[in-house]
């Protein structure tokens, strides 16, 4: 019998208690516990290794239904803890053999975790996506194409279409830049994640911004109002605001914006 393992959801401070988490259960429908060391508190749950050991867990993650259940349960715990205190969310599927390993982790990475908690304390993540309606391909100009043969006419039409698409895309990208710049002024940190492809979002719209913003609690309303103002000021894009989220995008330690910019620069070369 494989016994039980310890699933790690989040790291927080003593403000998080087992009593405070009593209304939430974990990925294995288990009661949530806390493991404390040196002022840091890990939110954990004991899971059956028959179900959440390495091999069975891989199988679960390989099926959309079980992946969804695990992802939603993990997020629900992180979310519940974030309602009690600032938390550092831990990536899905971090499992220890016992509480000792968790306590060791809290001790070994004490300074890093403490710094991360300080950075996100009193702040939450908001997501803003911007979508642009794709330009409808321009109608072929009858005057310009009437004298041309079918092949030339096709090429002219195609060129016009591509130029129209390019212009529309550039306009949307400019709007997204403006939105991101404005929201970054209010946020203490921001990240631009890779946009999702129209082929896969199932909408013909282009996602031109997939931003995450770490915003002070005291400025949350201001941030929401800024999004509203941008909706009115940037009619070429449709903005979607989600949150507040636990600070999933702001736990890595490095300056967020600089990091992404470096990655983009690298991708362009």
């Amino acid at each position: 019998m494989p016994g039980s393992g310890v699933w790690l959801y989040a790291v927080s401070s003593r403000l998080v208690s087992e009593a405070g988490l009593a209304g939430t259960t974990g990925v294995d429908a288990e009661r949530l516990r806390t493991v404390e060391r040196d002022g840091l508190v890990a939110v954990v749950g004991s899971v059956d290794l028959d179900e959440f050991g390495e091999a069975p867990l891989r199988r679960k993650l390989d099926h959309l239904e079980t992946l969804e259940a695990i992802a939603r349960a993990h997020h629900a715990v992180v979310d519940a803890a974030a309602r009690l205190a600032p938390v550092v969310p831990i990536r899905l599927a971090t499992v220890y053999r016992g509480d000792d390993g968790i306590a060791d982790l809290l001790a070994q990475r004490h300074d890093e975790l403490t710094t991360a908690l300080e950075r996100i304390s009193g702040r939450f993540e908001w997501g803003v996506k911007a979508y642009a309606a794709p330009a409808s391909p321009a109608e072929p100009d009858a005057e310009a194409t009437s004298d041309a043969g079918p092949g030339t006419a096709y090429l002219l039409r195609r060129r016009t279409q591509l130029e129209t698409l390019d212009r529309a895309r550039q306009t949307a990208v400019d709007s997204a830049e403006h939105v991101h710049a404005r929201l970054s002024e209010i946020a203490v940190a921001s990240r631009r994640h890779a946009p999702q492809d129209a082929q896969l979002t199932g909408t013909p719209e282009w996602m031109v911004l997939n931003g995450a913003y770490l915003v002070d609690v005291t400025r949350a309303d201001e941030f929401a109002h800024a999004v509203d103002s941008l909706k009115a000021a940037q009619p070429t894009v449709r903005l979607e605001l989600t949150g507040p989220w636990p600070p999933y995008s702001f736990t890595a330690g490095e300056p967020a914006e600089a990091d992404d910019a470096a990655q983009e620069a690298e991708a362009r070369t």
Binding site: D62, D79, R83, R91, A194, T201, N210, P244
Partner: protein, 131 residues
């Protein structure tokens, strides 16, 4: 917690107030966060999210079941450098604008590079863990 219009944050504790409607939160948004973000820690039982088994989900959803995935609002693999880095490095943005109708083919081609790109991602992940 998808409705950003509510002031769902309590200034006193610095914690979020209950906002309800959690189960309706877009699955793609959740997967994107719990799989691609959050602090990476190597536990005793290491399940690399970039292991082949998980990659097969991406492939299956991407190539065979895009319609199903769309209905579920799942599009998180597009955030995955494993699937997107090749496209970004090969084409300047300006050349990609008119090619939405070709992206499925491109993704299939990228999917063929599975082993090579996956190992690159593993390395990137390890670097992240060490930092």
């Amino acid at each position: 917690m998808t409705d950003g219009r509510q002031s769902a944050v309590s200034p006193q504790s610095g914690a979020m107030a209950p906002s309800g409607g959690r189960d309706s939160t877009n699955l793609g948004d959740i997967l994107e966060r719990v799989l691609d973000r959050g602090l990476v820690i190597v536990g005793d039982i290491r399940i690399s999210l970039l292991d082949i088994e998980l990659l097969t989900i991406k492939l299956r959803l991407l190539v065979a079941s895009v319609d199903t995935a769309r209905q579920l609002g799942i599009d998180w693999w597009e955030h995955d450098p494993w699937l997107t880095s090749a496209a970004r490095t090969e084409l300047p943005d300006s050349q990609r604008s008119g090619e939405i109708d070709q992206s499925a083919e491109e993704n299939e081609l990228e999917a063929g590079d599975e082993d090579e790109t996956a190992s690159e991602d593993d390395e990137a992940d390890e670097e992240e863990e060490e930092s």
